[in-house]
Amino acid sequence: METQKDIDHGLMRRIQQDDFAAFEELVERYKDRLVNVLFRMLNERNEAEDLVQETFLRVYKHRQEYDFTYCLSTWIYTIALNLAKNELRRKKKFKFFSLFDLQAKGVELEDTKPGPQSLKIILEKAIATLPVKYKTAFVLRDVDQLSYEEVAQILEVPLGTVKSRVNRARAILKDELRPKLEERRALSKGTLVPVRTM
């Protein structure tokens, strides 16, 4: 059976022969996931899209240099995340970073009515404010649902480090959301089954 890696490599071979249709197929395969990941990293949709475009541009420019011993997805994610990290560094330098970007310029959050915010909104804000190294691991693992092995390859850190970063991120989120979670737990009368209704 053809694995994701095989499909990617097949596409890359065609891209190396200047087959633009193959490149478009590759873009289709990854653009939404990358935009989502970078949006969670940067909290700004336009920036996220621009950086994903830059990622694909770099893939195209350097297509002849691609090393088939690696996963193409790892290569693409690494480029995208490096761009995002540079952007975060730049923002930190100029202190442009603002949590309000999430609502001001980003996605239209479903719960914008006044009154108590939904758990989902609080969670999104809490993810946005995670320290970068925990956020990166968490977004790749829990939001984009990559395997720990893939995340370790992309971030070039040992598997154990990824696990501990994801764990740490979950613990931070749990603490941030504790009051809201407690409210919901009381509603669900202490049952271990998570309640899905908002």
């Binding site: 989502n36 949709r45 475009q53 989902k120 749990k174 504790r178 202490g190 271990l192």
Partner: protein, 208 residues
């Protein structure tokens, strides 16, 4: 099992990486520890909510914009390739410079039109030979560009000649190969008054 270990197991349970034994141990601990039961609830809530967080997708014009960027890059690459030194191109440029040299030398040294004519003819031949594969528009463009270059060169030559009462700068120019772009026009000097170019010199520039 200690609560600390149970918390690790709870996180691992989110990833479905617990062994059967670990699962049983965790279940046993949860049965007797209300605090960890609470944590278990929190973990599964966070997992569920994270999975439900809205997925941002690329905008509809994403591919078009990317295509435009790639096109722009490819045009840039072609332009660079065109200007990359190749023996073909070097030869062509050498010919143009030879033409310039004739025109400039004739003008500078003797103020004689025939040298300029030789230069212009050489330049034209150069263009015709080396751009033979190009389109007609390209030829027109090249001719126009060269005409302008020759006119500039004549002006520089004329200015140089004004200064050739002193031989050194001219010798520097001719022998040590000071490039024309390095030549500082007297026009850039303060208090410089533009000389009137004699009619015959002007004609020499308009020979095309």
């Amino acid at each position: 099992m200690r609560c600390r270990k149970a918390h690790w197991y709870l996180s691992a349970r989110c990833d479905d990486t617990l062994s059967e034994k670990q699962r049983r141990d965790l279940a046993a601990h949860l049965d007797e520890c209300p605090s960890c039961r609470r944590e278990a609830f929190y973990f599964s809530e966070i997992k569920g909510q994270t999975a439900g967080v809205e997925k941002i997708r690329a905008r509809a014009d994403f591919n078009l914009r990317l295509q435009a960027k790639i096109n722009a890059w490819e045009v840039e690459q072609e332009t660079l390739r065109d200007h990359a030194p190749s023996s073909w191109r070097t030869l062509r440029e050498l010919s143009v410079w030879a033409a310039h040299y004739f025109a400039g030398l004739g003008n500078i040294l003797f103020g004689q039109r025939r040298f300029a004519v030789v230069g212009v003819v050489t330049a034209l031949l150069t263009i015709i030979i080396w751009t033979g594969y190009d389109s007609d528009e390209q030829l027109v463009d090249n001719t126009a560009a060269l005409t302008q270059e020759l006119a500039d060169l004549n002006q520089i030559g004329y200015e140089l000649r004004l200064e050739t009462e002193v031989a050194d700068p001219l010798r520097d120019y001719l022998i040590s190969g000071v490039s024309l772009s390095d030549y500082t026009s007297p026009r850039s000097q303060p208090n410089y008054v533009m000389p009137t170019i004699p009619a015959e010199q002007v004609n020499a520039q308009l020979i095309f």
